[in-house]
Symmetry: C2
């Protein structure tokens, strides 16, 4: 049975990084090791936040810091689903929970056009990172043709509310967007009576 | 149509009270005025967090501070539903959103028995407060026989996880309990794309 405890502990520990007054890059670095622990086991994500949508990939908010310093999202990819080319404008961490994801990174040229620089694959348990001005442009896709993949993303802001952009790969044309989230609910991380009952 | 914005603003402002380093009693006092604003309009609570359960009153978590310094809960009372006599052990605020609630306060005598001290009614838009060692023992009930009532409670901790007690009014006998919450999900407060789309 799924228990929300690992996600609650992740959120508590991630919040504590900010309380310690760490710099954004130190938060991202220490947060990366917390995320590695979170995705080392796949027994905690409630099913409703892992449901693929046949029409497009889903992004379920799992937690947003009330000061909007970070957010935690489950990305759920149906077979073959893919993002457009997009940016983030805040730091990001991607932890692979279930399945396999491909990431195609792009560099933006001075003329505004895009150049493909790298393709990599994320395997279960692995964590990758993104940084504005370093590697902020990518296309992400489910690398599996026959089943859903799920990755857990953490961003240095409320990612569903960030004003950012998607791009046409060929022309470089930019279209502003705010991604939002795929559901009006988030998991209840805070029911400690469940532990008490289980104990 | 319901918009989550008033609840998000309430959470943001309540969190800011703690960031200012206020004492618990100052948080409770300033928080009381934030809660009054929140319950001054009844157009923001998503229906799924206002559903009465025919068997007993419901407590839906709307937000828990990730440092567990405060929590926000919708109490949903079916016709005639009532709590047992109970305590809280953290400060509390009760804002009446919809309907009417009765509160019967009790004093605990030195012999452990209970004495009824006051009955009051909370009307829509009103806010009441609770404090440990002052007025921590009560029975709360829907004052309406023919329809549901909904109140918004704020507590100085993660109320669903606090080790506290219910009491037998006649004998004073104490039974430990941790209330938990009525749902595995909480509202998503953070989808700012909805505002953008609405604007
Ligand atoms: Fe991305
Ligand atoms: Fe109470
Ligand atoms: Mg009314």
């Amino acid at each position: 049975m799924s228990s929300i405890v690992p996600l609650r502990e992740f959120v508590t520990r991630f919040t504590a990084l900010f309380e310690r007054g760490l710099s954004p890059s130190a938060v991202q670095q220490e947060g990366s090791s917390l995320l590695r622990t979170l995705v080392s086991k796949d027994d905690w994500l409630p099913d409703v936040f892992a449901v693929p949508n046949p029409d497009r990939y889903s992004q379920y908010l799992l937690h947003c810091d009330p000061l909007e310093r970070f957010s935690v999202v489950s990305f759920v990819w149906g077979p073959g689903q893919t993002t457009p080319l997009h940016d983030h404008r805040v730091w990001g961490l991607i932890g692979m929970l279930r399945g396999r994801e491909s990431e195609t990174q792009f560099r933006r040229n001075s003329d505004g056009g895009f150049e493909r620089v790298d393709v990599s694959f994320l395997e279960e348990g692995e964590v990758a990172s993104l940084e504005p001005d370093v590697n902020d442009y990518h296309v992400v896709a489910n690398a599996l043709e026959d089943r859903a993949s799920v990755s857990i993303h953490v961003y240095g802001g409320n990612i569903g509310g960030v004003s950012r952009a998607v791009y046409d790969i060929e022309t470089g044309q930019e279209r502003p967007f705010i991604s939002g989230y795929s559901s009006g609910v988030t998991p209840n991380l805070w029911d400690r009576s469940l532990n008490a009952k289980a104990a």
